[in-house]
Symmetry: none
Subunit: 129 residues, 4 copies
């Protein structure tokens, strides 16, 4: 369920954050669903609870979690999310940069198109007419 790579350069708490974000974005985790408690998850991943704690706080501050004291943490509904525009601009920028670098590295266009299709951005048949 979780992909944590201790060897990665990325901080562990960030990897936890990314894993949750991905599961929420892809719909594996539904709004108002309860997520494991800090201690539970820490034990399961054999990671320091402080690290999980930090990840949860991060997810809460970014609007992906909400916490009910005494009950635990829950997945927030997309509509509850705050001010997206800043994050959207950030993402657009990474998109542009990544695309430019891919072109520079001579990654074949088809492979990029494949990705676009996979993300449901395009229906089959819209590309490469």
């Amino acid at each position: 369920m979780f992909r944590i790579d201790l060897k990665s350069r990325k901080a562990i708490y960030e990897q936890v954050v990314d894993n949750f974000k991905e599961m929420i974005i892809s719909g594996i985790l539904k709004p108002d669903e309860k997520v494991p408690s800090v201690r539970e998850l820490a034990k399961e991943l054999t990671i320091n609870p402080n690290t999980i704690q930090k990840a949860y706080r991060e997810l809460e501050s970014r609007g992906y979690f909400y916490s009910v004291s005494g009950l635990g943490n829950f997945v927030a509904a997309p509509s509850d999310k705050q001010d997206n525009s800043a994050r959207i601009n950030e993402l657009k920028d990474t998109l542009k940069t990544a695309l430019n670098e891919l072109m520079y590295l001579e990654c074949p266009k088809e492979e990029i198109m494949e990705i676009l299709k996979d993300t449901a951005l395009m229906r089959e048949g819209e590309t490469e007419r």
Copy 2:
């Protein structure tokens, strides 16, 4: 010419690396063009020469610069670049993730398409048929 944000969480030397990469990728810097000397750039940006040095070595080891001792650093030709596949896979992954998150944040498709067009990935008329 350079955008360095001392307050950013990103390391200064990484910002320098990214700035150069962007300029090379976008063609602002041409192959075999000389880049400012370590000391020169350090002085211009009021940054410690060692920091610039580190950035330059990074760029060299990633195949964007080559260094001629006694003469300075120069922009490498794209063909001189090494083993891209690992980097390409990384980029594809960030691409996927960014696209998914954009969809989740309900960024209008048109805006994303705009970016694709800008990167010359698609010719006018190929999209939104």
Copy 3:
């Protein structure tokens, strides 16, 4: 355990790199084994920590170490190594050059054969038929 020659023309950090590479190649250091912390080794060798740091990063970027933040540096498994072909060609070239020069200096063939045997390249009895 470590042979560092401060007077050598070779940079100290390179000597550290070479020492570790040799210990890893010869199997003295096993995969996933922890190596001394930057500060520890620096203290032991009475060398500046930054110098050790540089050596460790070099080893990491060449695929001999991996670093786990907060825990330290570890020996990477051979399979984790990246793109060897460039390095292999380099080595083949040094091999050729060294052999040619040895022949020129009239080093007896037997002595060279001795080395080949020692590196397990040849089984006893295969040579000097």
Copy 4:
């Protein structure tokens, strides 16, 4: 005739030295043959004369050249070479190290054998019986 790579990390004067050594070792340059004057070679390679000068001094001190004042530099005969033992030990060491690293990188034995044959170390048929 000369392979000088300004982009290489190796110092230019060292590349000049290596080129001459190789030509002498391989017999392209014969004993007592005259080599180009410092100025001539510098002009031909469009390199600073001081750099060539340094290379020639190095070659002389290592016993590959001898200089006759007013006439120029000449290739020394192998027998004129001094104290080889130190250099031979050096070479043996690089040989060992290179071989070990090649084995570690899983370079196929056959490719290594190929090199040994090419250097006339072995006659055809002596290996892999």
